[in-house]
Protein backbone atom coordinates (compact mmCIF):
# COMPACT_ATOMS: atom_id res chain seq x y z
CA UNK A 1 0.00 0.00 0.00
CA UNK A 2 2.88 2.33 0.76
CA UNK A 3 4.19 1.96 -2.75
CA UNK A 4 0.88 3.04 -4.23
CA UNK A 5 0.77 6.08 -2.00
CA UNK A 6 4.31 7.38 -2.55
CA UNK A 7 3.69 9.02 -5.92
CA UNK A 8 0.49 10.63 -4.67
CA UNK A 9 2.14 12.73 -2.00
CA UNK A 10 5.57 14.10 -2.69
CA UNK A 11 7.94 13.69 0.25
CA UNK A 12 8.42 17.15 1.63
CA UNK A 13 11.89 16.97 3.13
CA UNK A 14 13.26 19.40 0.57
CA UNK A 15 15.37 21.10 3.18
CA UNK A 16 17.28 17.93 4.05
CA UNK A 17 21.06 18.12 3.67
CA UNK A 18 22.16 17.49 0.13
CA UNK A 19 19.04 18.96 -1.45
CA UNK A 20 21.15 21.70 -3.01
CA UNK A 21 21.73 25.23 -1.82
CA UNK A 22 18.44 26.99 -2.42
CA UNK A 23 17.64 30.23 -0.59
CA UNK A 24 15.46 28.34 1.85
CA UNK A 25 18.11 25.73 2.73
CA UNK A 26 20.61 28.52 3.18
CA UNK A 27 18.26 30.47 5.45
CA UNK A 28 17.40 27.37 7.47
CA UNK A 29 21.08 26.49 7.90
CA UNK A 30 22.02 30.04 8.92
CA UNK A 31 19.10 30.21 11.34
CA UNK A 32 20.01 26.88 12.96
CA UNK A 33 23.66 27.96 13.24
CA UNK A 34 22.64 31.22 14.90
CA UNK A 35 20.36 29.40 17.31
CA UNK A 36 23.07 26.87 18.13
CA UNK A 37 25.66 29.58 18.82
CA UNK A 38 23.37 32.00 20.61
CA UNK A 39 24.43 31.04 24.17
CA UNK A 40 28.04 31.80 23.16
CA UNK A 41 27.00 35.28 22.03
CA UNK A 42 25.00 35.75 25.21
CA UNK A 43 28.00 34.62 27.27
CA UNK A 44 30.44 36.92 25.45
CA UNK A 45 28.29 40.03 25.57
CA UNK A 46 26.86 39.27 28.97
CA UNK A 47 23.38 39.93 27.61
CA UNK A 48 21.13 37.47 29.42
CA UNK A 49 18.03 38.91 27.79
CA UNK A 50 18.82 37.46 24.36
CA UNK A 51 18.97 33.98 25.87
CA UNK A 52 15.66 34.44 27.70
CA UNK A 53 13.99 35.76 24.57
CA UNK A 54 15.27 32.97 22.37
CA UNK A 55 14.39 30.27 24.87
CA UNK A 56 10.85 31.56 24.62
CA UNK A 57 11.05 31.65 20.82
CA UNK A 58 12.24 28.06 20.72
CA UNK A 59 9.56 26.79 23.09
CA UNK A 60 6.78 28.49 21.12
CA UNK A 61 8.37 27.17 17.92
CA UNK A 62 7.94 23.70 19.39
CA UNK A 63 4.25 24.46 19.87
CA UNK A 64 4.07 25.72 16.28
CA UNK A 65 5.80 22.56 15.00
CA UNK A 66 3.13 20.50 16.72
CA UNK A 67 0.35 22.66 15.26
CA UNK A 68 1.94 22.35 11.83
CA UNK A 69 1.66 18.57 12.04
CA UNK A 70 -2.13 18.66 12.17
CA UNK A 71 -2.76 21.96 10.39
CA UNK A 72 -0.09 21.93 7.69
CA UNK A 73 -0.04 18.25 6.88
CA UNK A 74 -3.41 17.07 8.12
CA UNK A 75 -5.53 20.08 7.14
CA UNK A 76 -7.00 20.17 10.65
CA UNK A 77 -7.10 23.88 11.53
CA UNK A 78 -7.08 23.80 15.31
CA UNK A 79 -7.86 27.20 16.81
CA UNK A 80 -7.38 25.92 20.34
CA UNK A 81 -3.77 24.88 20.36
CA UNK A 82 -2.81 27.17 23.23
CA UNK A 83 -4.91 24.91 25.47
CA UNK A 84 -2.11 22.34 25.34
CA UNK A 85 0.46 24.93 26.37
CA UNK A 86 -1.80 25.61 29.33
CA UNK A 87 -2.45 21.96 30.18
CA UNK A 88 1.25 21.13 30.00
CA UNK A 89 2.10 24.20 32.06
CA UNK A 90 -0.58 23.56 34.66
CA UNK A 91 0.47 19.90 34.98
CA UNK A 92 3.94 21.10 35.99
CA UNK A 93 2.60 23.90 38.18
CA UNK A 94 0.00 21.82 39.99
CA UNK A 95 2.41 18.96 40.70
CA UNK A 96 5.05 21.45 41.90
CA UNK A 97 2.53 23.07 44.21
CA UNK A 98 1.53 19.66 45.58
CA UNK A 99 5.14 18.89 46.39
CA UNK A 100 6.02 16.63 43.47
CA UNK A 101 9.07 18.37 42.06
CA UNK A 102 10.53 15.61 39.94
CA UNK A 103 10.57 16.27 36.22
CA UNK A 104 10.30 12.54 35.68
CA UNK A 105 6.77 12.81 37.07
CA UNK A 106 5.88 16.31 35.89
CA UNK A 107 6.80 16.06 32.25
CA UNK A 108 5.15 12.71 31.51
CA UNK A 109 2.08 14.02 33.36
CA UNK A 110 2.09 17.12 31.14
CA UNK A 111 2.35 15.01 28.00
CA UNK A 112 -0.23 12.46 29.14
CA UNK A 113 -2.77 15.09 30.22
CA UNK A 114 -2.42 16.90 26.90
CA UNK A 115 -2.73 13.67 24.95
CA UNK A 116 -5.84 12.70 26.90
CA UNK A 117 -7.43 16.10 26.32
CA UNK A 118 -6.54 15.86 22.62
CA UNK A 119 -8.14 12.42 22.47
CA UNK A 120 -11.45 13.70 23.86
CA UNK A 121 -11.46 16.92 21.85
CA UNK A 122 -10.35 15.15 18.68
CA UNK A 123 -12.93 12.39 19.00
CA UNK A 124 -15.71 15.00 19.21
CA UNK A 125 -14.31 17.67 16.86
CA UNK A 126 -13.17 15.51 13.98
CA UNK A 127 -16.78 14.79 13.14
CA UNK A 128 -17.08 18.34 11.86
CA UNK A 129 -15.47 20.01 8.86
CA UNK A 130 -13.98 23.32 7.84
CA UNK A 131 -15.02 26.35 9.81
CA UNK A 132 -17.01 24.22 12.22
CA UNK A 133 -13.81 22.39 13.14
CA UNK A 134 -11.98 25.68 13.68
CA UNK A 135 -14.75 26.87 15.97
CA UNK A 136 -15.26 23.70 17.98
CA UNK A 137 -11.55 23.43 18.80
CA UNK A 138 -11.72 27.07 19.83
CA UNK A 139 -14.73 26.36 22.04
CA UNK A 140 -12.97 23.51 23.83
CA UNK A 141 -9.94 25.70 24.44
CA UNK A 142 -12.22 28.37 25.91
CA UNK A 143 -13.66 25.73 28.23
CA UNK A 144 -10.20 24.82 29.52
CA UNK A 145 -9.43 28.53 29.85
CA UNK A 146 -12.43 29.00 32.14
CA UNK A 147 -11.59 25.83 34.07
CA UNK A 148 -8.16 27.34 34.80
CA UNK A 149 -9.78 30.59 35.93
CA UNK A 150 -11.95 28.56 38.28
CA UNK A 151 -8.98 26.77 39.88
CA UNK A 152 -8.91 28.90 43.04
CA UNK A 153 -6.39 26.65 44.73
CA UNK A 154 -3.95 27.18 41.89
CA UNK A 155 -4.28 30.94 41.67
CA UNK A 156 -7.45 31.24 39.59
CA UNK A 157 -7.35 34.29 37.36
CA UNK A 158 -4.07 35.54 38.87
CA UNK A 159 -2.03 32.48 37.98
CA UNK A 160 0.44 30.43 39.93
CA UNK A 161 4.11 31.01 40.63
CA UNK A 162 6.33 27.94 40.33
CA UNK A 163 9.07 28.22 42.93
CA UNK A 164 11.22 25.32 41.78
CA UNK A 165 11.86 24.21 38.26
CA UNK A 166 11.43 20.52 37.45
CA UNK A 167 14.08 18.41 39.20
CA UNK A 168 15.93 15.79 37.17
CA UNK A 169 17.99 14.35 40.04
CA UNK A 170 21.37 15.73 39.04
CA UNK A 171 20.96 14.69 35.40
CA UNK A 172 20.39 18.23 34.21
CA UNK A 173 19.94 21.45 36.16
CA UNK A 174 17.19 23.53 34.55
CA UNK A 175 18.23 26.58 36.55
CA UNK A 176 21.30 26.80 34.35
CA UNK A 177 20.00 29.06 31.58
CA UNK A 178 22.40 27.83 28.93
CA UNK A 179 21.67 24.17 29.67
CA UNK A 180 17.93 24.83 29.66
CA UNK A 181 18.26 26.63 26.33
CA UNK A 182 20.11 23.72 24.79
CA UNK A 183 17.58 21.26 26.19
CA UNK A 184 14.75 23.20 24.55
CA UNK A 185 16.71 23.48 21.33
CA UNK A 186 17.43 19.76 21.28
CA UNK A 187 13.77 18.95 21.94
CA UNK A 188 12.76 21.32 19.13
CA UNK A 189 15.13 19.66 16.66
CA UNK A 190 13.98 16.22 17.81
CA UNK A 191 10.35 17.20 17.29
CA UNK A 192 11.03 18.63 13.83
CA UNK A 193 12.73 15.33 12.99
CA UNK A 194 9.86 13.36 14.52
CA UNK A 195 7.25 15.31 12.56
CA UNK A 196 9.09 14.91 9.26
CA UNK A 197 9.44 11.18 9.95
CA UNK A 198 5.73 10.95 10.75
CA UNK A 199 4.52 12.82 7.69
CA UNK A 200 6.68 10.75 5.37
CA UNK A 201 5.68 7.44 6.91
CA UNK A 202 2.78 5.37 5.66
CA UNK A 203 0.70 6.76 8.53
CA UNK A 204 1.59 10.32 7.53
CA UNK A 205 0.79 9.70 3.89
CA UNK A 206 -2.68 8.51 4.87
CA UNK A 207 -3.25 11.67 6.93
CA UNK A 208 -2.00 13.86 4.09
CA UNK A 209 -4.10 11.91 1.65
CA UNK A 210 -7.16 12.53 3.82
CA UNK A 211 -6.35 16.23 3.65
CA UNK A 212 -6.34 16.21 -0.14
CA UNK A 213 -9.37 14.01 -0.62
CA UNK A 214 -10.87 12.33 2.40
CA UNK A 215 -13.68 10.64 0.52
CA UNK A 216 -11.26 8.93 -1.82
CA UNK A 217 -9.06 7.78 1.07
CA UNK A 218 -12.10 6.25 2.73
CA UNK A 219 -13.19 4.68 -0.54
CA UNK A 220 -9.87 2.87 -0.92
CA UNK A 221 -10.32 1.52 2.57
CA UNK A 222 -8.61 3.77 5.10
CA UNK A 223 -10.52 4.56 8.30
CA UNK A 224 -9.36 8.21 8.04
CA UNK A 225 -11.07 9.26 11.27
CA UNK A 226 -8.77 7.03 13.33
CA UNK A 227 -5.65 8.14 11.49
CA UNK A 228 -6.54 11.81 11.95
CA UNK A 229 -7.39 11.28 15.60
CA UNK A 230 -4.03 9.63 16.32
CA UNK A 231 -2.30 12.49 14.51
CA UNK A 232 -4.30 15.01 16.58
CA UNK A 233 -3.27 13.25 19.81
CA UNK A 234 0.42 13.18 18.83
CA UNK A 235 0.30 16.92 18.14
CA UNK A 236 -1.43 17.54 21.45
CA UNK A 237 1.17 15.56 23.38
CA UNK A 238 3.99 17.43 21.65
CA UNK A 239 2.47 20.81 22.46
CA UNK A 240 1.90 19.67 26.05
CA UNK A 241 5.66 19.17 26.27
CA UNK A 242 6.11 22.74 25.02
CA UNK A 243 3.75 23.84 27.80
CA UNK A 244 5.86 22.05 30.42
CA UNK A 245 8.95 23.80 29.06
CA UNK A 246 7.20 27.17 29.04
CA UNK A 247 6.15 26.78 32.68
CA UNK A 248 9.76 26.01 33.59
CA UNK A 249 10.96 28.95 31.54
CA UNK A 250 8.71 31.60 33.03
CA UNK A 251 8.31 30.00 36.50
CA UNK A 252 4.73 31.13 36.25
CA UNK A 253 1.48 29.94 34.72
CA UNK A 254 -1.84 31.69 34.32
CA UNK A 255 -5.03 31.29 32.29
CA UNK A 256 -3.75 34.06 29.99
CA UNK A 257 -1.49 31.38 28.51
CA UNK A 258 -4.61 29.84 27.02
CA UNK A 259 -6.45 32.96 25.88
CA UNK A 260 -7.72 32.43 22.34
CA UNK A 261 -5.41 35.10 20.99
CA UNK A 262 -2.48 32.87 22.06
CA UNK A 263 -3.91 30.14 19.84
CA UNK A 264 -4.09 32.81 17.14
CA UNK A 265 -0.40 33.57 17.69
CA UNK A 266 0.50 29.93 17.08
CA UNK A 267 -1.54 29.84 13.86
CA UNK A 268 0.13 33.06 12.75
CA UNK A 269 3.59 31.58 13.37
CA UNK A 270 2.83 28.47 11.32
CA UNK A 271 1.19 30.30 8.43
CA UNK A 272 3.80 33.06 8.46
CA UNK A 273 6.66 30.59 8.32
CA UNK A 274 5.19 28.25 5.76
CA UNK A 275 2.36 25.78 6.22
CA UNK A 276 3.29 22.14 5.84
CA UNK A 277 7.04 22.62 5.67
CA UNK A 278 9.43 21.06 8.21
CA UNK A 279 11.21 24.26 9.28
CA UNK A 280 8.42 26.70 8.49
CA UNK A 281 7.04 26.83 12.05
CA UNK A 282 10.50 27.60 13.45
CA UNK A 283 11.10 30.34 10.88
CA UNK A 284 7.62 31.72 11.53
CA UNK A 285 8.08 31.71 15.30
CA UNK A 286 11.44 33.48 15.02
CA UNK A 287 10.09 36.03 12.56
CA UNK A 288 6.87 36.74 14.47
CA UNK A 289 8.35 36.97 17.96
CA UNK A 290 11.44 38.94 16.91
CA UNK A 291 9.29 41.33 14.88
CA UNK A 292 7.04 41.79 17.90
CA UNK A 293 10.02 42.32 20.19
CA UNK A 294 11.84 44.65 17.80
CA UNK A 295 8.78 46.76 17.10
CA UNK A 296 7.91 47.13 20.76
CA UNK A 297 11.41 48.51 21.36
CA UNK A 298 11.03 50.96 18.50
CA UNK A 299 7.55 52.21 19.15
CA UNK A 300 4.88 52.32 21.77
CA UNK A 301 2.36 50.92 19.27
CA UNK A 302 4.02 47.83 17.76
CA UNK A 303 0.79 46.19 16.59
CA UNK A 304 0.02 49.22 14.44
CA UNK A 305 2.78 47.91 12.18
CA UNK A 306 2.69 44.19 12.99
CA UNK A 307 -1.03 43.89 12.21
CA UNK A 308 -0.83 45.28 8.67
CA UNK A 309 2.29 43.16 8.05
CA UNK A 310 0.28 40.02 8.86
CA UNK A 311 -2.55 41.26 6.64
CA UNK A 312 -0.15 41.87 3.75
CA UNK A 313 1.36 38.41 4.20
CA UNK A 314 -2.13 36.90 4.13
CA UNK A 315 -3.03 38.82 0.97
CA UNK A 316 0.13 38.69 -1.10
CA UNK A 317 2.36 35.87 0.08
CA UNK A 318 1.54 32.29 -0.73
CA UNK A 319 3.10 29.70 1.54
CA UNK A 320 4.60 32.09 4.10
CA UNK A 321 8.29 32.96 4.33
CA UNK A 322 9.29 29.53 3.04
CA UNK A 323 7.06 30.05 0.03
CA UNK A 324 8.56 33.49 -0.51
CA UNK A 325 12.04 31.96 -0.58
CA UNK A 326 10.87 29.43 -3.13
CA UNK A 327 9.60 32.25 -5.29
CA UNK A 328 5.97 31.20 -5.01
CA UNK A 329 3.70 34.22 -5.18
CA UNK A 330 0.06 34.84 -5.55
CA UNK A 331 -1.14 37.99 -7.27
Amino acid sequence: MTASLEPVVKPALDAAPGAGLTPRTALTAVLLAILALLPLYAGLTGDPFALTLFTRVIILALGAVSLNLIMGYGGMVSFGHAAYLGIGGYAVGILAKEGIGSGFAQWPAAIAASALYALVVGALSLRTRGVYFIMITLAFAQMIYYVAIGLERYGGDDGLTIYRRSQFGGLIDLNNKTLFYYLCFALLLASIYLVSRIVNSRFGLVVRGARSNERRMRAIGFPTFRYKLVCFVIAGALCGLAGALLANHTNFISPALMHWTRSGDLIVMVVLGGLGTPFGPLIGAVAFLLLQEGLSRLTEYPDLILGPVLLLVAIYVHGGIEGLLDGRRRG
Binding site: I134, Y146, V271, A314
Partner: protein, 305 residues
Amino acid sequence: MLYFIEQCLNGVQLGMLLFLLAAGLTLVFGIMDLVNLAHGSLYMLGAYFAATFALVTGSFVLAVVLAVAASLFAGMVLEVVAIRRLYGRDHLDHVLGTFGLLLFFNDFVRLIWGPAGMTVPLPQPMLTAIEIMPGIFYPAYRLVIIAATLAVAALLYIVVMRTRLGMLIRAGAANRQMVGALGINIKLLYTLVFGVGAALAGLAGVLQAPILTVQIGMGENILILAFVVIIIGGIGSIRGAFVAAVGVGFIDTVGRAFLPDLLHRVLSTTAADTLAPSLSSMSIYMLMAAILVFRPEGLFPAASR
Protein backbone atom coordinates in the same frame (compact mmCIF):
# COMPACT_ATOMS: atom_id res chain seq x y z
CA MET B 1 -39.32 34.30 41.69
CA LEU B 2 -38.56 38.00 41.37
CA TYR B 3 -34.90 37.23 41.02
CA PHE B 4 -35.66 34.56 38.47
CA ILE B 5 -37.63 36.89 36.20
CA GLU B 6 -34.94 39.53 36.49
CA GLN B 7 -32.25 37.02 35.54
CA CYS B 8 -34.35 35.79 32.61
CA LEU B 9 -34.60 39.35 31.33
CA ASN B 10 -30.85 39.78 31.76
CA GLY B 11 -30.41 36.61 29.73
CA VAL B 12 -32.66 37.93 26.98
CA GLN B 13 -30.73 41.19 27.00
CA LEU B 14 -27.39 39.40 26.58
CA GLY B 15 -29.01 37.32 23.85
CA MET B 16 -30.05 40.47 22.02
CA LEU B 17 -26.52 41.83 22.19
CA LEU B 18 -25.14 38.54 20.89
CA PHE B 19 -27.68 38.57 18.09
CA LEU B 20 -26.49 41.97 16.87
CA LEU B 21 -22.92 40.71 16.76
CA ALA B 22 -23.80 37.32 15.33
CA ALA B 23 -26.11 38.65 12.61
CA GLY B 24 -23.29 40.62 10.97
CA LEU B 25 -20.86 37.78 11.46
CA THR B 26 -23.18 35.16 10.00
CA LEU B 27 -24.03 37.36 6.99
CA VAL B 28 -20.37 37.88 6.18
CA PHE B 29 -19.62 34.24 6.88
CA GLY B 30 -22.54 32.90 4.90
CA ILE B 31 -22.26 35.19 1.90
CA MET B 32 -18.56 35.95 1.52
CA ASP B 33 -17.36 32.76 3.24
CA LEU B 34 -15.04 34.92 5.33
CA VAL B 35 -13.84 34.16 8.85
CA ASN B 36 -13.63 37.62 10.38
CA LEU B 37 -11.74 37.74 13.66
CA ALA B 38 -11.79 41.54 13.45
CA HIS B 39 -15.57 41.63 13.94
CA GLY B 40 -15.04 42.23 17.66
CA SER B 41 -12.86 45.21 16.80
CA LEU B 42 -15.81 46.78 14.98
CA TYR B 43 -17.86 46.29 18.14
CA MET B 44 -15.11 48.04 20.09
CA LEU B 45 -14.91 50.84 17.53
CA GLY B 46 -18.67 51.35 17.78
CA ALA B 47 -18.41 51.77 21.53
CA TYR B 48 -15.54 54.27 21.19
CA PHE B 49 -17.41 56.21 18.54
CA ALA B 50 -20.41 56.39 20.86
CA ALA B 51 -18.24 57.63 23.73
CA THR B 52 -16.69 60.32 21.57
CA PHE B 53 -19.94 61.49 20.00
CA ALA B 54 -21.65 61.52 23.40
CA LEU B 55 -18.86 63.73 24.67
CA VAL B 56 -19.00 66.07 21.67
CA THR B 57 -22.74 66.37 21.16
CA GLY B 58 -23.88 65.83 24.73
CA SER B 59 -26.84 63.84 23.44
CA PHE B 60 -27.04 60.09 23.87
CA VAL B 61 -29.53 59.53 21.05
CA LEU B 62 -27.49 61.59 18.62
CA ALA B 63 -24.37 59.68 19.71
CA VAL B 64 -26.07 56.36 18.93
CA VAL B 65 -27.10 57.45 15.45
CA LEU B 66 -23.73 58.99 14.60
CA ALA B 67 -21.76 56.04 16.00
CA VAL B 68 -23.76 53.50 13.99
CA ALA B 69 -23.27 55.59 10.84
CA ALA B 70 -19.56 55.83 11.59
CA SER B 71 -19.37 52.05 12.08
CA LEU B 72 -21.11 51.50 8.75
CA PHE B 73 -18.62 53.79 7.08
CA ALA B 74 -15.64 52.20 8.85
CA GLY B 75 -16.82 48.74 7.81
CA MET B 76 -17.21 49.73 4.17
CA VAL B 77 -13.78 51.35 4.08
CA LEU B 78 -12.26 48.29 5.73
CA GLU B 79 -13.92 46.06 3.14
CA VAL B 80 -12.63 48.08 0.19
CA VAL B 81 -9.11 48.49 1.59
CA ALA B 82 -8.44 45.05 3.00
CA ILE B 83 -11.21 42.49 3.38
CA ARG B 84 -12.07 42.40 -0.33
CA ARG B 85 -8.66 40.94 -1.11
CA LEU B 86 -9.25 37.96 1.15
CA TYR B 87 -12.39 36.58 -0.54
CA GLY B 88 -12.04 33.18 -2.12
CA ARG B 89 -8.96 32.43 -0.08
CA ASP B 90 -8.28 29.64 2.33
CA HIS B 91 -9.80 30.12 5.79
CA LEU B 92 -6.27 30.19 7.19
CA ASP B 93 -5.49 33.30 5.18
CA HIS B 94 -8.61 34.86 6.68
CA VAL B 95 -7.46 33.95 10.17
CA LEU B 96 -3.98 35.40 9.56
CA GLY B 97 -5.23 38.58 7.88
CA THR B 98 -8.08 39.42 10.24
CA PHE B 99 -5.96 38.51 13.26
CA GLY B 100 -3.55 41.15 11.96
CA LEU B 101 -6.47 43.58 11.73
CA LEU B 102 -7.48 42.78 15.31
CA LEU B 103 -3.96 43.58 16.53
CA PHE B 104 -3.96 46.74 14.42
CA PHE B 105 -7.28 48.00 15.78
CA ASN B 106 -6.28 47.43 19.40
CA ASP B 107 -3.22 49.62 19.01
CA PHE B 108 -5.06 52.05 16.75
CA VAL B 109 -7.65 52.66 19.46
CA ARG B 110 -4.89 53.01 22.06
CA LEU B 111 -3.20 55.61 19.85
CA ILE B 112 -6.37 57.64 19.20
CA TRP B 113 -8.27 57.32 22.47
CA GLY B 114 -5.48 56.44 24.90
CA PRO B 115 -5.08 53.41 27.14
CA ALA B 116 -7.65 54.45 29.75
CA GLY B 117 -11.22 53.25 29.40
CA MET B 118 -14.16 55.56 28.75
CA THR B 119 -17.69 55.70 30.07
CA VAL B 120 -20.87 56.80 28.37
CA PRO B 121 -23.40 58.56 30.59
CA LEU B 122 -27.07 57.74 30.08
CA PRO B 123 -29.77 60.40 29.89
CA GLN B 124 -31.87 60.71 33.05
CA PRO B 125 -35.09 58.94 31.90
CA MET B 126 -33.17 55.79 30.99
CA LEU B 127 -31.60 55.53 34.44
CA THR B 128 -34.88 54.81 36.17
CA ALA B 129 -36.33 51.40 36.76
CA ILE B 130 -39.71 50.56 35.30
CA GLU B 131 -42.29 48.43 37.01
CA ILE B 132 -42.83 45.78 34.36
CA MET B 133 -45.05 43.57 36.50
CA PRO B 134 -46.58 44.25 39.88
CA GLY B 135 -43.61 44.47 42.23
CA ILE B 136 -40.98 43.80 39.59
CA PHE B 137 -38.73 46.66 38.61
CA TYR B 138 -36.29 46.51 35.72
CA PRO B 139 -33.83 49.15 34.45
CA ALA B 140 -35.43 51.14 31.64
CA TYR B 141 -32.25 51.20 29.58
CA ARG B 142 -32.04 47.41 29.43
CA LEU B 143 -35.63 47.30 28.21
CA VAL B 144 -34.65 49.85 25.56
CA ILE B 145 -31.84 47.55 24.45
CA ILE B 146 -34.21 44.61 24.16
CA ALA B 147 -36.82 46.62 22.26
CA ALA B 148 -34.30 48.25 19.93
CA THR B 149 -32.68 44.93 19.04
CA LEU B 150 -36.03 43.28 18.42
CA ALA B 151 -36.86 46.13 16.06
CA VAL B 152 -33.52 45.72 14.28
CA ALA B 153 -34.07 41.96 14.04
CA ALA B 154 -37.52 42.47 12.54
CA LEU B 155 -36.15 45.04 10.10
CA LEU B 156 -33.31 42.72 9.12
CA TYR B 157 -35.77 39.88 8.60
CA ILE B 158 -38.01 42.02 6.39
CA VAL B 159 -35.06 43.31 4.36
CA VAL B 160 -33.56 39.86 3.85
CA MET B 161 -36.80 38.00 3.18
CA ARG B 162 -39.04 40.60 1.54
CA THR B 163 -36.93 43.01 -0.52
CA ARG B 164 -34.99 42.81 -3.75
CA LEU B 165 -31.76 43.57 -1.90
CA GLY B 166 -32.48 40.73 0.50
CA MET B 167 -33.18 38.43 -2.42
CA LEU B 168 -29.77 39.28 -3.87
CA ILE B 169 -28.14 38.68 -0.50
CA ARG B 170 -29.76 35.26 -0.20
CA ALA B 171 -28.90 34.46 -3.78
CA GLY B 172 -25.32 35.51 -3.13
CA ALA B 173 -25.17 33.13 -0.20
CA ALA B 174 -26.51 30.28 -2.31
CA ASN B 175 -24.39 30.75 -5.42
CA ARG B 176 -22.30 33.85 -5.69
CA GLN B 177 -20.90 33.13 -9.15
CA MET B 178 -24.37 32.79 -10.58
CA VAL B 179 -25.44 36.11 -9.08
CA GLY B 180 -22.37 37.76 -10.59
CA ALA B 181 -23.05 36.11 -13.95
CA LEU B 182 -26.57 37.54 -13.94
CA GLY B 183 -25.13 41.02 -14.01
CA ILE B 184 -25.42 42.01 -10.38
CA ASN B 185 -22.63 44.23 -9.08
CA ILE B 186 -21.43 41.65 -6.61
CA LYS B 187 -18.52 43.79 -5.38
CA LEU B 188 -20.84 46.56 -4.31
CA LEU B 189 -23.21 44.05 -2.74
CA TYR B 190 -20.36 42.58 -0.70
CA THR B 191 -19.17 46.01 0.42
CA LEU B 192 -22.71 46.83 1.49
CA VAL B 193 -23.19 43.53 3.34
CA PHE B 194 -19.88 43.95 5.16
CA GLY B 195 -20.81 47.53 6.02
CA VAL B 196 -24.17 46.43 7.42
CA GLY B 197 -22.44 43.72 9.45
CA ALA B 198 -20.04 46.34 10.80
CA ALA B 199 -22.93 48.68 11.61
CA LEU B 200 -24.72 45.90 13.52
CA ALA B 201 -21.52 45.13 15.47
CA GLY B 202 -21.09 48.84 16.05
CA LEU B 203 -24.68 49.11 17.29
CA ALA B 204 -24.00 46.28 19.73
CA GLY B 205 -20.98 48.19 21.01
CA VAL B 206 -22.92 51.43 21.19
CA LEU B 207 -25.78 49.90 23.17
CA GLN B 208 -23.40 48.14 25.51
CA ALA B 209 -21.20 51.21 26.05
CA PRO B 210 -23.24 52.74 28.91
CA ILE B 211 -23.40 49.42 30.77
CA LEU B 212 -19.73 48.45 30.51
CA THR B 213 -16.54 50.43 30.51
CA VAL B 214 -15.46 51.14 26.95
CA GLN B 215 -11.98 49.64 26.79
CA ILE B 216 -9.40 48.06 24.52
CA GLY B 217 -9.93 44.36 23.88
CA MET B 218 -13.60 44.54 24.92
CA GLY B 219 -14.53 42.79 21.67
CA GLU B 220 -12.25 39.80 22.05
CA ASN B 221 -14.16 37.58 24.44
CA ILE B 222 -17.60 38.51 23.20
CA LEU B 223 -16.47 37.72 19.64
CA ILE B 224 -15.97 34.11 20.65
CA LEU B 225 -19.49 34.01 22.09
CA ALA B 226 -20.78 35.39 18.79
CA PHE B 227 -18.93 32.64 16.95
CA VAL B 228 -20.51 30.07 19.24
CA VAL B 229 -23.90 31.57 18.41
CA ILE B 230 -23.49 31.35 14.65
CA ILE B 231 -22.07 27.85 14.85
CA ILE B 232 -25.02 26.68 16.95
CA GLY B 233 -27.47 28.51 14.72
CA GLY B 234 -25.92 27.34 11.49
CA ILE B 235 -23.62 29.53 9.41
CA GLY B 236 -25.47 31.98 7.17
CA SER B 237 -28.81 31.67 8.93
CA ILE B 238 -30.14 34.85 10.52
CA ARG B 239 -33.04 32.95 12.03
CA GLY B 240 -30.57 30.44 13.48
CA ALA B 241 -28.45 33.29 14.83
CA PHE B 242 -31.50 34.75 16.58
CA VAL B 243 -32.61 31.49 18.17
CA ALA B 244 -29.07 30.57 19.19
CA ALA B 245 -28.30 34.06 20.52
CA VAL B 246 -31.32 34.08 22.80
CA GLY B 247 -30.56 30.51 23.88
CA VAL B 248 -26.90 31.19 24.60
CA GLY B 249 -27.62 34.46 26.39
CA PHE B 250 -30.27 32.79 28.48
CA ILE B 251 -28.24 29.71 29.41
CA ASP B 252 -25.15 31.76 30.21
CA THR B 253 -26.95 34.25 32.45
CA VAL B 254 -29.33 31.87 34.16
CA GLY B 255 -26.51 29.33 34.60
CA ARG B 256 -24.33 31.91 36.30
CA ALA B 257 -27.19 32.97 38.56
CA PHE B 258 -28.53 29.62 39.64
CA LEU B 259 -25.85 26.99 39.17
CA PRO B 260 -24.03 27.88 42.42
CA ASP B 261 -27.22 27.35 44.44
CA LEU B 262 -28.01 24.15 42.64
CA LEU B 263 -24.52 22.77 43.24
CA HIS B 264 -24.64 23.72 46.90
CA ARG B 265 -27.59 21.42 47.33
CA VAL B 266 -25.84 18.35 45.94
CA LEU B 267 -22.18 18.99 46.78
CA SER B 268 -20.12 20.15 49.74
CA THR B 269 -19.66 23.91 50.02
CA THR B 270 -16.03 23.97 48.95
CA ALA B 271 -16.58 21.64 46.01
CA ALA B 272 -19.55 23.71 44.86
CA ASP B 273 -17.63 26.97 45.24
CA THR B 274 -14.78 25.62 43.14
CA LEU B 275 -16.94 24.06 40.49
CA ALA B 276 -19.70 26.62 40.02
CA PRO B 277 -17.79 29.48 38.33
CA SER B 278 -16.00 27.25 35.81
CA LEU B 279 -19.06 25.14 35.15
CA SER B 280 -21.28 28.12 34.43
CA SER B 281 -18.65 29.65 32.12
CA MET B 282 -18.29 26.32 30.37
CA SER B 283 -22.00 25.64 29.95
CA ILE B 284 -22.45 27.29 26.56
CA TYR B 285 -19.33 25.67 25.15
CA MET B 286 -20.60 22.30 26.28
CA LEU B 287 -23.92 23.13 24.64
CA MET B 288 -22.14 23.97 21.43
CA ALA B 289 -20.02 20.83 21.50
CA ALA B 290 -23.10 18.71 22.15
CA ILE B 291 -25.03 20.33 19.30
CA LEU B 292 -22.13 19.94 16.88
CA VAL B 293 -21.75 16.27 17.72
CA PHE B 294 -25.39 15.62 16.86
CA ARG B 295 -25.88 18.29 14.20
CA PRO B 296 -22.47 19.08 12.69
CA GLU B 297 -23.89 21.99 10.66
CA GLY B 298 -25.81 23.72 13.41
CA LEU B 299 -29.51 23.94 14.16
CA PHE B 300 -30.59 25.77 11.01
CA PRO B 301 -28.12 24.84 8.29
CA ALA B 302 -28.46 27.04 5.22
CA ALA B 303 -30.09 24.94 2.53
CA SER B 304 -27.28 25.21 0.02
CA ARG B 305 -24.52 24.01 2.27
